[in-house]
């Protein structure tokens, strides 16, 4: 996903803990999210979901599978 792109969350690949924490912030399958930016050296990624901005650690962010608006891939 590039900054500015948006898509629909398809799946959260991870254990119960990860799914719990992400969903608490509204990141659940079926939700539309937009990537705002990422930082250097695998730093956190900022996304927008439901008009709120959330910063997510790189590892966690890479487990969010998104169906991009045009074509698949993450």
């Amino acid at each position: 996903m590039r900054p500015g792109q948006s898509g629909i969350v398809v799946q959260l690949q991870g254990g119960h803990g990860l799914v719990n924490r992400l969903s608490a912030l509204g990141i659940i399958p079926g939700k539309r999210i937009t990537k705002i930016s990422s930082t250097l050296m695998r730093g956190p990624v900022t996304v927008e979901v439901d008009r709120a901005r959330v910063a997510i650690g790189f590892g966690m962010a890479s487990r969010i599978l998104v169906q991009l608006d045009k074509g698949p891939t993450k």
């Binding site: 930016s37 730093g43 910063a55 650690g57």
Partner: protein, 563 residues
């Protein structure tokens, strides 16, 4: 109760008149506050709790909130109206618990210009509890909220699984909320820029540099134009009169006024109750406390801090922490006590241990920094840079060591970034006042007590004994005169006074630098000590203290060799 950063504390303040610290970042409130409000004829106790996204806690602060839920009769669920969907998840969880709930739909004013339309009647009907739109910062809707508290009910929804609950939230949203499209505002563009690698990095540096300059400018200004003239022109003559009355010497004279330097009162060196005992808190420390908290409050209320956390996340991971730990660290530059408390926003015990230890070792509080500026700064700005540079290096190196040696893992950053807001001046000044008042109320009795104790111990020759006992370590290893050990001892009471004790010793610049660094690192002051004990437990507190003493001696020894 409610999600983080929805304005629970502001509503609490409005309901009870109790002043609490409010800021624009998730995790401002880490503990609970009690207050009272009038419900018609009766008085009700109101409790402000930390925010939480769900009823499954992920941090100490969230556990506090959950614990309080069990004791409450009615829950005022504060909901961010601009982000109804995520907030309703917690609301549904609360409704399943069977506690009576009334919903405060806060930040109601923001929904209008964000193009969000919420059908209140429909929402009330679907939730089955009273829903009151509020604007806590202006006080709108608070009266209606109070009127609705007795009407709080619980529909006792059946307990659902997470996915079912989210589905239920989705269906409510579809029925009550209508969003019209709108353009990006300049604040949002600025918000985006502050988390992008290049512009965000530059912004972080500029913000920190400007903050530092402003803190110094205001601090020095207050000292140079207000407090120094007050003390030198008005207070000094009074003291000299008093000194004459006390015949210029003797036990009482030494305690009240201190030793005269060249026949005059010297506010830094005399060390009497009415000379240094007042000068240190008011004319050296207070100006920096005011200017530091002014700038910090501004950064907090604008909402910049979570963005800074994103920018420093990669660095902080090297220290075994994640980016959000920068917030307790910055608080530590004011006072280590709230900083150690603020580590409750971190998820794991390991992170809390590392963060609290690093803060109490390498982050000098405002009072100590003011003394460093005053004493070391007088010898030249480059020496202040050496002191800060050393502490920063210690922070990094010790962080890396702790990351490698403390078992466990550091969870990844996951935080909500609030929108930028214009600060509410009234609220900000009130917060500044609370913090400054807190400093005065807590520091002045201890400072005066410390000065008194120091003079009595001097008189009894106790310090002499300690100094002789520890002389080999202090003189050979750290290169300080043996009298400096008294400062280290007093450092346990208050570090600003302790550093002040180095003033009359006629130290060389190198000794002063070593002394400042060792004092900053050595032992937490008694207040920090108590919070560390409470927050980390006995074993970890002892570990943390051991690390401190070792680190202080090693760093002091190295400095003594290198400089």
């Amino acid at each position: 109760m409610g999600n983080p950063n929805v304005g629970k504390s502001v509503i609490f303040s409005r309901l009870t008149g109790v002043r609490v610290i409010v800021s624009n970042y998730p995790g401002t409130t880490v503990s609970y506050t009690r207050g009272e409000t009038k419900l018609g004829e009766d008085t009700a106790e109101v409790i402000d709790v930390p925010g939480t996204y769900t009823l499954e806690p992920t941090s100490e602060a969230e556990e506090v909130a959950l614990g309080m839920l069990r004791t409450g009769d009615v829950v005022v669920n504060v909901v961010n109206a601009t982000n109804l969907e995520r907030n309703l998840y917690l609301t549904l969880q609360l409704l399943e618990k069977g506690v009576p709930v009334v919903v405060a739909l806060n930040m109601w004013d923001d929904t209008k210009h964000l193009g969000i339309d919420i059908n209140l009647d429909k929402l009330r009907e679907l939730l089955g509890v009273p829903v009151v739109p509020t604007v806590a910062v202006t006080g709108e809707g608070i009266k209606e909220l109070v009127e609705n508290i007795p009407k709080a009910t619980s529909p006792r929804l059946p307990v659902r699984s997470r996915d079912e609950r989210w589905a239920a939230v989705g269906s409510i949203i579809d029925q009550v909320q209508h969003v019209t499209h709108r353009h990006h505002t300049w604040r949002e563009s600025l918000s985006d820029a502050s988390v992008k690698p290049l512009s965000g990095g530059i912004m972080a540096l500029v913000v920190l540099a400007v903050s530092f300059i402003v803190v110094r400018f205001i601090g020095e200004g207050l000292i140079g134009y207000v407090f120094d003239p007050l003390f030198n022109n008005l207070w000094a003559p009074v003291l000299m009169r008093l000194s004459e009355l006390l015949q210029g010497g003797g036990f009482l004279h030494n305690i009240v006024i201190g030793r005269l330097i060249g026949g005059e009162v010297d506010f830094l060196q005399s060390f009497g109750l009415l000379s240094s005992g007042l000068y240190i808190p008011f004319a050296v420390v207070l100006p920096y406390v005011v200017s530091f908290y002014l700038v910090l409050s501004l950064l907090e209320d604008v909402g910049y801090l979570p963005r800074l956390a994103v920018m420093v996340d990669t660095l902080m991971h090297r220290l075994g922490l994640h980016g959000y730990a920068i917030i307790p660290t910055l608080l530590g530059l004011g006072c280590n006590v709230p900083a150690v408390l603020a580590t409750r926003i971190l998820e794991s015990k390991r992170e809390r241990f590392i963060a609290a230890t690093l803060i109490s070792i390498a982050i000098p509080c405002a009072a100590l920094q003011a003394m460093i500026f005053g004493l070391v700064g007088a010898r030249g700005a480059q020496y202040v840079v050496i002191v800060y540079g050393t502490l920063f290096l210690v922070w990094i190196i010790l962080g890396v060591i702790l990351r490698l040696s403390v078992r466990g893992f550091t969870p990844e950053l996951l935080i909500e970034i609030p929108p930028y807001r214009l600060p509410q001046w009234r609220a900000m000044l009130q917060k500044l006042w609370m913090r400054v008042y807190g400093f005065l109320a807590e520091a002045i009795p201890i400072i005066l007590g410390a000065v008194l104790v120091i003079n009595i111990l001097y008189f009894l020759g106790v310090f002499e004994a300690i100094a002789n006992f520890t002389a080999p370590l202090i003189t050979n290893f750290l290169g300080l005169p043996k009298e400096a050990v008294t400062a280290v001892v007093i450092g346990f009471l208050r570090k600003d006074v302790a550093l002040g004790m180095l003033a009359p010793l006629a130290l060389s610049t190198k000794q002063l630098v070593v002394g400042s660094v060792v004092l900053a690192m050595f032992f937490p002051c008694v207040a920090t000590f108590v919070v560390l004990l409470r927050e980390l437990g006995v074993v970890n507190m002892l570990k943390s203290t051991g690390i401190m003493i070792a680190a202080a001696l090693i760093t002091g020894g190295i400095l003594n060799l290198v400089l």
